[in-house]
Amino acid sequence: MNDQLRYYLARAAARKMDRRAFMGKAAALGVASTAATGLLTSAVQAQGPSRGGHLSIGLQGGESTNSKDPATYASQVPFMYGRITGETLVNINSAGELEGAAAEEWSASADASTWRFKIRSGMQFHNGQPVTAEDVAQSLRRHSNEDSQSGALGIMRGVASITTDGDTLVLQTETPNADLPYLLADYHLIVQPNGGMDDPAGPIMSGPYRWVDDEPGVRHTFERFDGYWNDNVAHFETIEILVINDATARNSALQSGQIQMANRVPPSVAGLLARAPGVEVVSTAGRGHYVFIMHANTAPFDNNHLRLALKLAIDREDMVNRILRGYGSVGNDMPINAAYPLFDDTIPQRTYDPDQARFHYERSGHSGPIDLRTAEGAFPGAVDAAQLFKESAAAAGIDLNIIREPNDGYWSEVWNVKPFSASYWGGRPVQDQMYSTAYLSTADWNDTRFFNPQFDALLLEARGELNLVRRKELYSQMGLMVRDEGGLIAPMFNDFIDAYNGDVTGWVTNPNGEMMNGFAPVLMWSAG
């Protein structure tokens, strides 16, 4: 790097020169614009976060029916505004480790069935009222009591009692659970005054930003909360979320600089968008997966030969390339991939094998077409994926009959109702949670109707097992069971594809969810 460029870079990083002027100077010195952006980004990051400025985010996944009540959060916009204004007990950081949020520290009894969380002292709600252990306890109760309408009701089910002891929250689980803190990082479990029992959709939370304007389905604005305990986050003065459900409109707004960040870039245009000047497209390998689910207790899928035949008859590589355009990785018919802690990478990868598929299909004794239901809303590209599946299965002599269902009502009428359908899973922070959510015999969302007492016993054993080597071994056995006997066909794990422009910096890859697990607005800062 020559001295002149170094000089401009230092000035730009110190904000004595604006970004556009720097890009101009760099271009004059013969530096390609992508290289100049890279230089500037690293120089600005070396400078450390700067405070101030305004951030506009354009997000898919907001409706005019959205509410501030954390129990109702189900789409991306509420998920993000929960992250911006609210606070959970703990958070999972980019390395997959737990970090204290409303809880300062925590510990478990030796059998992992009693957990004590010390609530951070000096925390306050946006109205200045202090956050007490009782507020936290009430919040958790609202998500788990019998009148609960919360999206977190399922994951709170294992908690038998919620009590307080001074500034400490004490949770008693029904069975030992070494992963309990991970469950409490769920984005619904936001602390509210008196747990939101009085005003569930009230604007008072305890997160880094406070609510200003709330127009559901249109825009939401926030300003920094000065009483927030952590000075190392919340760099922007004000934040605005614009609900832009149309992908083309979102990308245009990002390119024209009206917004600085966008979520859900369609794989088909990610490459093109990345070529636009000043736009950074980031793809993060996560735990979300696109699946075809068979009800393992319903004919004809109650025959494991038929299930194996269908698993062998899907061309995974082709789907990753065509449906995800390479923004993803192949799945192995279990809901777990390398993004999970304690993943066993020695389990062999299942590949497309029409001959083996034909062998198992013939052994199953089934004949005639098999109905597969799909809808564009099942996952992006689900209709095309089903079509690819039909073609690859036809090579093995299996006749799939694709039935296209409307998006509207898909989750209530088709998924978890019809015996063979397309679906997706967002993934969970730990293996236990993923398996308990959908593969335990008694799970609410056992969408593959997988009833295996041996598997259930292993799951409970692993849940209370504090020895990690033994635990990994147990998870490996469970993974193999689902892979070889379950009703899940998991051809691909999708990446999250987000984008931001050169006005902001500080992106950190976080495999737990899109937009740095929702923390991008709180953790990134203005590039000046």
């Binding site: 005019s64 029916t65 109702t72 009148d147 959709a201 832009i244 409109a249």
Partner: protein, 318 residues
């Protein structure tokens, strides 16, 4: 009673009956759709218990007829209630959205109605010559392209490339009138292009029809300028069909622009209604449906009255 007043009274009474029928149809429609508000809100993450809790909480466990009559009773007193999905006051939410929709529709109408009538007159004046062909070609092309494509093209040129306007047409109460006009410039342009052809072609056809009449020939023989004949003599007799098609397009501008709202992220009624239909939020769908039906019926009534007033034979019946 004056025959026109009598007609208006008759039409208004009929309109009220139609509204009642519409509300019944909308209610039945939302009941036929699969799933209910609880299933729609909780989505893929619903548990049986959470569903049952929510249904009981929202009163969805009661019979449909009870819920309809209760809604009707309150609505007749002007109380639309609160949205099932997020507990917001419906009248208040709709008022804000409706204001935005009317604003965008008005801007588009103020530009498109005079423009299309003028273009129609011009097309008659230069019938079968190049101005007529050009006007027809341009307006027919713009109506043939899907709205969202027109939107994307205009957005790409004027926002991404030239940077003249924002691609996101978000407006809020903190903006001045000028800023709001700037914000809706692109969607209003697209809407203008979409409705132009229909009104322009109707103006052209209606006037050409009248141009065959003997009195137009008389005007020509008197030596009047051709454009004066068209505008002063032919146009008043062609006003009825033109008003009808103008009103249809105005109604379209109010009730049918959801695609444009999505593309330009405009906070109008269309997106609001679609969101609530997909959540099966019956009270909101009912209220929005009634408002849309009122606008449709009202504009059609207005079109009829204007046609009658423009025709002396109907204005002064024997």
């Amino acid at each position: 009673m004056h025959p026109i007043l009598k007609l208006v009274a008759q039409r208004l009474a009929l309109g009220c009956l139609l509204l009642l029928a519409a509300s019944v149809l909308i209610f039945i429609g939302t009941q036929i759709l699969p799933g209910d508000v609880a299933a729609a809100i909780l989505g893929q993450g619903a548990t049986e218990q959470a569903l049952a809790n929510m249904r009981a909480d929202l009163g969805l466990d009661r019979p449909a007829i009870t819920r309809y009559l209760e809604w009707l009773f309150n609505a007749l007193q002007g109380d639309f209630g609160v949205a099932l999905s997020n507990g917001r006051d419906i009248a208040e939410s709709i008022a804000g959205r409706m204001k935005n929709t009317i604003f965008l529709a008005s801007v588009a109408a103020v530009v498109s109605v005079p423009l299309s009538i003028f273009l129609g007159l011009l097309a008659v004046r230069y019938r079968d010559r190049w101005p007529d062909r050009l006007i027809s070609a341009v307006t027919l092309t713009s109506i043939s392209l899907p709205e969202f494509l027109l939107g994307y093209v205009i957005m790409f040129v004027f926002s991404v490339k030239l940077g003249w306007f924002n691609s996101v047409s978000n407006i809020n109460d903190g903006m001045s009138f000028g800023e709001k006009l700037g914000a809706v410039a692109l969607p209003a342009t697209v809407l203008t292009l979409v409705v132009l052809a229909h009104m322009m072609r109707m103006t052209r056809a209606a006037i050409l029809n009248v141009m065959q009449s003997a009195y137009v020939e008389t005007a020509e023989l008197k030596g009047l300028r051709r454009f004066t004949i068209i505008a002063r003599h032919a146009m008043p007799n062609a006003i009825a069909p033109i008003i009808n098609v103008v009103m249809l397009n105005l109604a379209y501008l109010v009730v049918g622009v959801v695609v444009i709202e999505v593309v330009f992220v405009y906070p109008g009624m269309g997106q609001y209604l679609v969101d609530h239909v997909s959540k099966r939020d019956v009270p909101v769908v009912q209220a929005s449906g009634l408002i849309f039906a009122t606008i449709y019926i009202g504009l059609n009534l207005l079109a009829d009255i204007i046609s009658i007033l423009s025709n002396p034979r109907l204005r002064h019946p024997k």
